[in-house]
Symmetry: C2
Subunit: 487 residues, 2 copies
């Protein structure tokens, strides 16, 4: 920190009420709320255009409790059912205080997004996949899979923009337009380097802009929405080593810069080891057969949300992971949904196939025998996969090496990191209102944060849509808090 | 922090060269080294006597590379073999810089301990157990189990005092005597509350002593050896939620006080989610049969070090966990080694037993069938348990609920937390020399730390003896650094 405005400085100073650092979806919603509360708002973005990692994401927002899109698709839902699902799926140890706010406010948040130009088609994508290849606005995110079906009435809550595959760009285009309409000023190519503290209060930042040192002064507050730290290997080694060597889901700028700046002024972090994991397997293919670990053991219902399945594998089971299917299962999946995936091994005999895959003798055959027994009577007694996916597997069998990744139809390079990609979920410790806390648990005056630079609603689990979801929801609250200014 | 020595203060001030906060094994070794380097040393201890959690521990020190005890027991060893083992057992992501120092310096550290009165009998305890019931000074800590046997020549490296079961008290008695002999002054019943910083340098602490505010001034440095944070549920929720609701391995004062004090002056933490886990199962019984999870699946070679087995269960497999044995296996274990454990279920038929345990139909029978096939040919193709433990299991079979815990012969209450107890391994980010680092990676002048208030040699794994081992090893280095004073 520096004593800003020191005599003799010649760097340009830009003043505003609320300064937002980082123009992903958390920054966008914070900026809009602050501007609509009457504050003059400047948003800084390191890249040459707004968007951040949000714009490169799948674009799902986890919303429910009875949104108009859910209703149009014929689903009843409640905040309580949404809470029961998320508490389990994001847990153990989901942040109950933030989660309850998030679920109670979800319909209103949906309406706010729609009012600000975000578009969701009122149609359901009813297939198992990472991302729909359609413009459907609603998708299942594992609500209809065991064990969640035993906890709450299932309703699909994945809301997304009207584009196939990655819908994050559409979301960000809408939010950037909303910010612009609200009078928010954007400075791109501007990298905040340090928070400025005066009399114990954060009053602005120092930054680099087109090779020049510049300063921003915020009368009311600074909101950090700079993203996580998956792009900084030193921070990963210190706090989330499980992501070392894995692929990075980010725009390349998630280097924890906001977290680091806040730590330097006494801010606290929370749950820095938490992270999301995606494994490059095809959910619709695995559900038609099985997913097994290096020893040929099944370990999860393959129709669960792919993030849950990925975490069950990567965090808990020995690699490599194999999708084992038969001819019927493979051919049932339309070619365009195969994303270039092809079986690496095939055999008439399971002992032969298991041996080729380096599994213990008899392991794969025993797993398939137990599966087929269950499939014949229509009940997966091991992992409770929905009966609609159960069918005894018959020779010839094929095995797909999940680490080989996807090819056409998906982003390239996704098979890096052994077919495992991820991002960080830990970060600054904030109140639900977005105040950044010190290690002593008191707010850092003038400093707010939201999105993946903070620890959000997540415990040890993750479901798609909860990152953009909590970033936009708590981004709005942080923007409003900052606009309210010093009390 | 406060501006100490402010005019008008009436609190008593005690001066010294090096102030050590916390009198467990890290504090003891830091104090001895500092005193032997010529510094006047005061050690503060919150409890009414020295010892801390170290004195309540098993007392194992992980030492090797060819100690005189290893030699007397007929084992050759090298720093390289020790490093290869620990790098794997404490990994992935063990701290390679600290680990290399630790292994290279291990024989010298052993000699230093012996020179300072620590006693190790030159005899090997060659049984699978959490803690020997003898005075043997050397024990295996999983070096002779797969996969470690494939990485380095196995040698036992668990060094311990000449008492049955918990040997931590004997270790601490020796170290406390050594500190006293070196002229170290001890203030018990004294709780440090705040670090005192002047001109950017830590120069002492404020403390409470018998209900009075007191101050300590350290000319050369303050060494924090205050232990981990397993006793603070708020810190666990923020940083290591996996330990919430588990039993706590501590003296009840491991509330992260040193970490918290250091954070307040800008210190950084590292790997706060890392933790040790112990499951209350009998290693020697599990090795004679099998350990299975809630679904009746084996998941580890049961002859591995119990800490490895516990982590494999608790972190990665669904509870409850069962030890399944037959009559021969159970009766082979002498009564005094059974620690009061009794089978909860018994049956002639495995399907019946599996059903009683709530496992999927056929699961347990399939696991035992695969195990027996392997046992007959003397090779555990699944998990590579040593052939000496392999014997086909025969009816009647018994199952022991691991969560029921131990009874006579062990500490009471150990079955709390579902039979899972643990402690934290994350903490302050230090250099190998014990300097506490800021978030920016620069030392906090005047501040040093060691033991479980720091992140030590551990990555995601844990082996007994590496906590007292790294605490005494790096405690000595921190004491020496502090005695060297400002550069």
């Amino acid at each position: 920190m520096i004593a800003a405005g020191a005599s003799g400085t010649t760097r340009p100073v830009t003043g505003c009420d609320v300064l937002v650092v980082g123009f992903g979806c958390a920054g966008a919603t914070a900026a809009v709320e602050a501007a609509e509360a009457g504050a003059s708002v400047v948003v800084l973005e390191r890249a040459s255009a707004p968007g951040g990692s949000s714009a490169l994401s799948g674009g799902e927002l986890y919303l429910g409790g009875g949104t108009s899109v859910q209703q149009a698709c014929g689903f009843e839902d409640s905040a309580e059912a949404m809470h029961a699902f998320l508490s389990a799926a994001l847990g153990p140890h989901a942040d109950e205080e933030k989660l309850e706010l998030y679920c109670r406010g979800s319909v209103a948040h949906f309406d706010w997004l729609v009012d600000h130009g975000v578009v969701f088609q009122p149609s359901l994508h009813d297939r198992l996949t990472w991302m729909p290849d359609t413009d459907d606005g609603l998708m299942w995110l594992g609500e209809n899979a065991w064990p969640f079906t035993t906890l709450a009435a299932p309703a699909p809550r994945g809301h997304r923009g009207p584009v196939p595959f990655y819908a994050g760009r559409a979301l960000m285009d809408s939010l950037v337009a909303a910010a612009s309409a609200a009078g928010v000023v954007t400075h791109t190519d501007t990298r905040a380097t340090e928070l400025v503290v005066e009399d114990g209060r954060v009053v602005g930042v120092l930054a680099r802009r087109f090779g020049q040192d510049v300063e921003y002064r915020a009368e009311r507050g600074v909101v950090l929405t700079t993203g996580g730290f998956v792009d900084d290997d030193r921070m990963l080694a210190d706090h989330a080593p499980a992501l070392l060597g894995r692929g990075k889901v980010s725009d390349g700028l998630d280097d924890g810069s906001g977290i680091t700046m806040a730590l330097a002024v006494g801010a606290a972090t929370r749950r820095m080891a938490a992270h999301e994991t995606s494994l490059t397997y095809l959910p619709a293919l695995a559900a038609r057969g099985m997913l097994v670990d290096a020893r040929g053991q099944r370990f999860v219902n393959e129709d669960a949300y792919p993030g849950i399945v990925s975490h069950a594998a990567v965090a808990h089971r020995p690699a490599p992971y194999w999708v084992v299917v038969d001819e019927t299962g493979f051919e049932e999946l339309p070619e365009r949904e195969r994303w270039g995936v092809r079986p690496a091994y095939a055999a008439e005999d399971l002992d032969e196939l298991g041996a080729e895959l380096g599994m213990p003798e008899g392991a794969l055959a025993a797993t398939v025998a137990a599966y087929n027994r269950d499939a014949e009577r229509g009940e997966d007694t091991w992992f409770h996969k929905d009966p609609r996916w159960l069918r005894p597997l018959v020779a010839p069998y094929a095995a797909i090496d999940v680490a080989a990744g996807f090819h056409p139809g998906a982003r390239e390079g996704v098979a890096e990191g052994g077919g495992v990609v991820g991002f960080t979920l830990g970060g600054l410790h904030t109140t639900p209102d977005g105040e950044v806390l010190t290690w002593a648990g008191t707010p850092v005056p003038g400093l707010y944060a939201a999105g993946r630079s903070t620890s959000g609603i997540h415990g040890d689990g993750y479901i798609s849509g909860t990152s953009l979801g909590d970033a936009t929801f708590f981004g709005r609250l942080a923007g409003r808090s900052a606009a309210a200014g010093p009390s």
